[in-house]
């Protein structure tokens, strides 16, 4: 049994070999182990218990496939260890030569108001800046990713945020969209930058409180992961409900209706947040689209590819396998319900790159918004 007196880690996950076991690395539950066989969660826990900081822990992508119990999952332990380990001496953010990290630093310096709402489409309704609202749409870094990547990959991530507002409007919600929202802090958490992570979370908390927000809705699974499971207990007085937009729409969108569409799409298997019976909000919404055929990818696919610090060749291998698993369903289109995942997959298929897979990739919420209709005959179908 783990020695609880030596560490502040609580209820470590079991070490049954379930996660990284299997005859071949590809058999392992942990997607990281598939490409880095040396990444064995149980061994990492052993090292932590022995008082060593297991540096390999940085490879954990936080997909939570290893445990049904999020609070006691390996990923949660990994994040705890990362924050305890602190920032490495040779650490340097490399994604986009550190541009994203620089934006976070600028946000932390708080030199003035951001101009980050220019992407909001005409006709879409959000709460005016001086108005309160119970529901906030947390868009993360999508306005910056538009400038950083948009022209190069031919896709602007705020498109998914626009689709989100459309869908929220269609269920009668005018969300709060914070003009000074700061980064969720996932990358800084992963880097071990505790101070920055706390500062970012605290800022977001204060901005949301000022607007009377109670529920945070997001299209990004990484945001949901960070705000929903990593903020509680670390950001003081964090008491917001953090919900994936799909779940919010299912809970609030009884009359949400869609036009028939004769298409076949692939989606990832239910993730850790889903009903163990295999239904989840994404499927629930897709079921409402008449004539749509939905194919589910094989199990074992994560719902995140990790932070931007994990934007490397191993992540690319995982992303490629993800797309291959989608292609194996023989659906021509893959719907991706997490915005950061969507951006990563599209970045990997940027024009001019080698295309190892040919399945079309589309944002799940834009797919819904394009087919959304107010026609009554489809309501409640």
């Amino acid at each position: 049994m783990p020695d609880k007196k030596r560490h502040s880690l609580h209820d470590l996950p079991g070490q049954c070999g379930f996660v990284s076991g299997g005859l071949e690395p590809n058999d392992s539950v942990c997607p990281v182990t598939r490409y880095r066989p040396e990444f064995v969660p149980s061994r990492l826990i052993d090292e932590a218990m022995s008082g060593w900081f297991p540096t390999l822990i940085r490879h954990c992508i936080g997909c939570e496939l290893c445990s049904p119990d999020m609070e006691h999952s390996f990923a949660n332990c990994a994040d705890k260890l990362l924050l305890q380990g602190g920032v490495r001496e040779d650490y340097m953010p490399r994604a986009f030569s550190g541009a994203l990290d620089a934006i976070v630093s600028i946000q932390l310096r708080n030199e003035g108001s951001q101009n980050r709402l220019g992407w909001i489409g005409e006709g879409l309704k959000i709460k005016a800046p001086d108005h309160e609202g119970k529901v906030a749409l947390f868009v993360g870094n999508t306005p910056y990713l538009d400038s950083l990547l948009g022209d190069e990959i031919g896709y602007y991530p705020t498109d998914e945020s626009n689709a989100a507002i459309e869908l929220l409007n269609s269920v009668g919600v005018e969300p709060v969209v914070l003009p000074d929202e700061v980064d969720c802090g996932r990358d800084r958490l992963h880097a071990g930058d505790r101070a920055a992570f706390i500062a970012l979370g605290t800022r977001n908390r204060d901005l949301l409180r000022e607007r009377g927000v109670k529920t945070i809705v997001t299209t990004c699974d990484d945001v949901r992961y960070t705000l929903g499971t990593r903020y509680p207990g670390r950001i003081p007085d964090w008491d917001f409900e953090v919900v994936r937009l799909a779940d919010f729409l299912v809970s609030r969108g009884g009359k949400l209706a869609f036009m028939p569409t004769r298409e076949t799409v692939a989606i990832q298997p239910p993730d850790i947040y889903s009903d163990p019976g295999g239904n989840d909000a994404v499927r629930e919404l897709l079921k409402r689209i008449p004539e749509l055929i939905v194919k589910t990818m094989a199990p074992g696919m994560p719902s995140t590819f990790g932070s931007w610090n994990q934007f490397d060749s191993y992540s690319k291998l995982l992303e490629t396998d993800y797309l291959r698993a989608a292609e194996a369903t023989s659906a021509p289109t893959l719907l991706v319900s997490g915005t950061t995942m969507l951006v990563r997959l599209l970045e990997g298929r940027r024009p001019g790159s080698w295309e190892e897979t040919s399945i079309k990739i589309k944002g799940f919420y834009r797919f819904l918004s394009e087919r959304h209709t107010v026609a009554e005959e489809f309501a409640g179908a």
Binding site: G112, Y144, L148
Partner: protein
């Protein structure tokens, strides 16, 4: 945002190895002025990307300047044009982040009058 105070401001200069600041008499007076400057030599202005410029702003430099050969005279042909594109992207990011995009300055050695555009 705070106005650039030339008596206490800090400037980050990336200069192409073929365009040392000392080779351009007007450069120091007009562009750097009385500011403290940190000057980083790079093999070509193409080495300066969006990330480098943004990190300069994140580090608190009042201005980030790229001193380049020029689109026509760049020995590597594609280096200077890519640096200009990186600068444009950095300006958009800076604007979104609430910073004055004019804090990013591009000085072309063979087009000094058009510099900064």
């Amino acid at each position: 945002m705070s106005a650039v105070d030339s008596t206490t401001s800090r400037v980050l200069v990336f200069y192409c190895t073929r365009q040392k600041p000392s080779d351009h008499p007007g450069f120091r007076e007009l562009v750097i002025g009385e500011s403290d400057s940190v000057e980083i030599e790079v093999p070509c202005s193409g080495r300066v990307g969006t990330g480098e410029i943004m990190r300069g702003l994140a580090e608190g430099y009042d201005r980030v300047i790229v001193l380049s050969c020029g689109v026509k005279s760049c020995v590597h042909r594609f280096g200077c044009p890519e640096a200009k594109k990186a600068m444009e992207k950095a300006r958009k990011l800076a604007q979104t982040a609430g910073l004055d995009p004019k804090r990013i300055f591009f000085y072309e050695a063979d087009n000094p009058d058009g510099s900064g555009e």
